[in-house]
């Protein structure tokens, strides 16, 4: 049965460029997501420094516009989403008892397209100016008339490529969770993080194509002179708003649902109790996703859609508070009567609950259309979405990173440093954003690069800036903690928290290449906990020991992404007048764009023509691979 297909195994850099192992791709996502997160954080610090006092002239208005645009875009698309994908990649196959994702090749492709899209977007800083029309890039502000530089082109093309990667990733996780679950793991036995990722992936699949089209239309307007949003030619700028938010609102649930999933794993583990209301949790997740697709116009109350549309979208938005409330109470009831252990992972999870609830409450306030006419485009909105995205999403991610760090890297993070991280970050967070509610209510507009003194804004802006620095200190503590963790030897226990409930804690930390020597048999929700309760130390295997089939490493996804990257640059600069006639020739005749597409489609062809038979790990190799028994 075992065929000795010879396969080239790479070392060093080539190993990372060619890997199709979900655990390594997770680390790649984490590294690049962390890098973009740092860039976005640095942009935030610059924004807050500019606003530290009235009439500050540290930054020019143009630079400020670029910074707010890139801060939002970077944090959402290139910072937190990849970190979510890092955790999904690292954990989901382990939680469902699989050896890899359904499509290891596509997994790699998704990562590289995301990375090259992100690089393209950030190249704008050194190639003639970053996008400056806000992360929503509303037309006509983003049209060539008001944004004549290539900034917005970097936005449209960069996001297009990065979005493609996200779409591929979402599709892959959907297929993985549907088909790769271990025997006995029915849908209603899946861990909550897997459920949340499953629903998130479905949302990605149905939301991202909308922004794909939106970005294509804006690119066509800007590069080919089309008239979609150009009123002169009969276009309609409100169309952009609709398309953007039909994607954009589901996108915020795409961000928050995985955080819900993480919290639903961490709280039961450290309360030593089964998650309260598991099935209502699943139901609430699906309901949030469903409702999330029919609330987009609440971002457009002041656009003038009329009272009927505003009322409908107002009500549908408020409805979302119901399933979200179910979740909040379920977490509280999980802790109720549990033996709660407050380590860093759990501090972030418990800290998440009140913080996110505050963001939810302001969300319901904003959902009220008449009140929104007052709140719209003020710092109240800024405070709201940072409470849900930072206080929700980022708290969730930090909780998840502390929780799963031992599984991903075989090393436990230091608790003292972790607690410093939590308290500085949490206090800094509330200092930064709590005051912004009041700034907004007092009338401070968002996206302004400075403000006049003596309006009562000065002190609160100062507090906000100090808070931002404190959050930065928290992230520095976290970074030190990471560096320290890598200075200790690998090899913590399979289940370092000792209360692990799910399958990822039954295998070594970090897991061997093939994850499970034998695919486990799942006998209930919280499969590992169930075995522990029955007095077993390990899972019952569902298959005999045998050779394990593995996919081959491949460079093709990397090359394909390079091709798309080149094609994107070629498209953006197709109308540019270069000083060198050679450059003009190759760009204006679409040669660069065509070459990029040729590389991409050529690689696709190679992938189709040459079958990947993969290779096998023989049972004798298990020990060498570091699989410890018991």
């Amino acid at each position: 049965m075992a065929h000795a297909h010879s396969v080239k195994r790479y070392k060093g850099l080539m190993d990372w460029l060619t890997t199709v192992d979900h655990k390594k791709i997770a680390i790649l996502y984490l590294l690049s997501g962390g890098l973009f997160f740092a860039i976005g954080g640095f942009e935030a610090i610059l924004i807050r420094l500019q606003l530290i006092k009235p009439m500050n002239d540290m930054l020019e208005a143009q630079t400020f516009n670029e910074l707010i645009t890139m801060h939002g875009t970077t944090m959402i698309f290139l910072g937190v989403m990849p970190i979510v994908f890092a955790l999904m990649n690292a954990i989901i196959p382990l939680q469902i008892g699989a050896r890899d994702v359904a499509f290891p090749f596509l997994n790699s492709l998704g990562f590289w397209t995301f990375l090259f899209g992100g690089i393209l977007l950030n190249l704008s800083w050194v190639m003639g100016g970053a996008p400056d029309a806000g992360w929503t890039s509303y037309t006509p502000l983003s049209s060539t008339m008001y944004s004549p530089s290539h900034g917005v082109d970097f936005y449209t093309v960069g996001l297009q490529i990065a979005g493609l990667g996200t779409l591929i990733g979402g599709l892959n996780f959907l297929a993985t969770i549907i088909t790769m679950r271990a025997p006995g793991m029915s849908y209603m036995r899946m861990p909550m993080f897997t459920w949340a990722s499953f629903v998130t992936s479905a949302m990605i699949l149905f939301a991202f194509p909308a922004i794909t089209v939106g970005l294509v239309l804006l690119t066509f307007d800007r590069v080919l002179g089309a008239n979609f949003f150009n009123v002169d030619g009969g276009g309609n700028p409100v169309l952009w708003q609709h398309i953007f938010w039909i994607f954009g609102h589901p996108e915020v649930y795409i961000l928050i649902l995985p955080a819900f999933g993480i919290i639903s794993e961490v709280i039961p583990t450290f309360a030593r109790k089964r998650l309260f209301g598991y099935s209502s949790m699943v139901f609430a997740t699906i309901l949030i996703a469903f409702l999330g697709f029919m609330v987009w116009a609440h971002h457009m109350f002041t656009t003038g859609l009329g009272p009927v549309a505003n009322a409908l979208f107002s009500i549908s938005t408020m409805l979302i508070a119901v399933p979200t409330g179910i979740k909040i109470f379920n977490w509280l009831f999980t802790m109720w009567g549990g033996q709660v252990k407050f380590n860093t992972a759990n501090l972030f999870a418990v800290g998440f609950i009140p913080t996110f609830t505050m963001g939810g409450v302001t969300g319901v306030m904003l959902a009220s259309a008449p009140a929104d006419f007052q709140f719209h485009d003020t710092y109240f909105v800024v405070a709201h979405f940072h409470y849900v995205i930072v206080g929700g999403m980022v708290f969730g991610l930090l909780s998840g990173l502390h929780y799963w760090w031992p599984k991903m890297f075989g090393r436990v993070l230091n608790e003292t440093l972790g607690k410093w991280t939590f308290w500085t970050f949490a206090i800094g967070f509330h200092m930064t954003f709590f005051v912004q509610h009041f700034l907004g209510l007092m009338g401070m507009q968002r996206r302004v690069f400075t403000y006049l003194p003596n309006q009562g804004f000065d002190t609160m802006n100062l507090v906000s800036t100090v808070g931002a620095f404190l959050m930065g200190v928290g992230i520095i503590f976290f970074t030190i903690n990471i560096i320290k963790s890598f200075m200790q030897p690998k090899g913590c226990a399979n289940d370092p928290w000792e209360d692990g409930r799910t399958l990822e804690w039954t295998i070594p930390s970090p897991p061997p290449e093939y994850n499970f020597k034998q695919i486990p048999l799942v006998r209930g929700l919280d499969a590992y906990w169930k075995e522990k309760a029955a007095g077993n130390t390990e899972m019952t295997p569902a298959e005999p020991i045998g050779p394990i089939h593995m996919p081959s490493p491949t460079i093709i996804p990397f090359v394909m992404s390079v091709g798309i990257f080149i094609a994107g640059l070629g498209l953006m600069f197709s109308g540019e007048e270069f000083s060198s006639s050679f450059m003009s020739f190759i760009f204006n005749n679409w040669i660069v764009c065509g070459l990029g597409l040729l590389i991409t489609f050529g690689s696709m062809l190679m992938r189709s023509l040459f079958d990947d038979h993969g290779w096998h790990i023989e049972p004798e190799e298990f020990e060498e691979e570091g699989y410890k028994h018991g």
């Binding site: 049965m1 065929h3 050896r99 359904a102 499509f103 779409l167 599709l171 892959n172 959907l174 297929a175 549907i178 088909t179 699949l205 149905f206 939301a207 991202f208 194509p209 909308a210 794909t212 089209v213 939106g214 294509v216 239309l217 066509f220 307007d221 080919l224 002179g225 089309a226 008239n227 979609f228 150009n230 030619g233 009969g234 276009g235 309609n236 169309l239 398309i243 039909i246 298959e543 045998g546 394990i548 089939h549 062809l605 189709s608 023509l609 079958d611 038979h613 993969g614």
Partner: protein, 208 residues
């Protein structure tokens, strides 16, 4: 994953070779999901077109521009190509490789025929009617929606063409069968999209 290499086992191809391996089943499932995403993509393009279809900016209108006999012929060609694609899959299930290849070639030829008509149509609009991408919001929406579909047909033609070559070289196996199957799913999908384009763009355009 022990059943990956069943084709080496007894040399017998299972009746549904496209679903014989986990890889094959995953591919088909994921392709259904992908088509769900594609439906949203075209849905957004249709919504854009419906919003802008009367914004002619003093350029040609739909009623002036479209010629129903031409698009009806294109529709007929594409619908027939869907039928021949079904014949191809039936041949696949009967393990008749020659027949399969023949029907795939017919499908590809019909796809090329459709593309030729579309290119001719676009050429006519651009050069004889002065109806280009930049003419009006209607023209932008028209070229983008119909062009996206045309690009999908062109990709399908190339894709199925490559698969025909693989069938010649590798024969029908549990590796090639899922590829043929999902390409047929794709082909039917772009056919369905065209039915909507014919209705929403051309028929609705003619009646105003």
């Amino acid at each position: 994953m022990a059943n990956v290499h069943t084709e080496h086992g007894n040399g017998q191809l299972p009746q549904y070779p496209e679903k014989a391996t986990l890889e094959g089943r995953n591919k088909i499932l994921a392709f259904w999901l992908f088509l769900g995403g594609e439906a949203v993509l075209f849905g957004t393009l249709f919504a854009t077109f419906l919003t802008l279809r009367n914004q002619t900016n003093e350029g040609p209108t739909a009623a002036e521009l479209f010629s129903l006999p031409l698009t009806a012929a294109a529709t007929f060609i594409l619908l027939v190509s869907s039928l021949t694609s079904v014949f191809a899959i039936q041949a696949l299930h009967r393990h008749k490789v020659k027949e399969l290849i023949t029907w795939l070639i017919v499908t590809v030829l019909l796809g090329i025929g459709f593309l030729a008509l579309e290119i001719y149509e676009f050429y006519e609009y651009m050069h004889l009617e002065n109806f280009g991408m930049t003419t009006s919001a209607f023209s932008s929406a028209f070229y983008t929606l119909v062009g996206f579909h045309g690009a999908h047909v062109a990709f399908g033609v190339l894709w199925i063409g490559v698969l025909i070559g693989q069938l010649y070289k590798k024969g029908l196996t549990v590796v090639t069968a899922p590829k043929i199957y999902v390409s047929a799913m794709y082909w039917h999908f772009i056919d369905v999209v065209w039915v909507f384009i014919f209705t929403v763009v051309y028929l609705l355009g003619k009646v105003g």
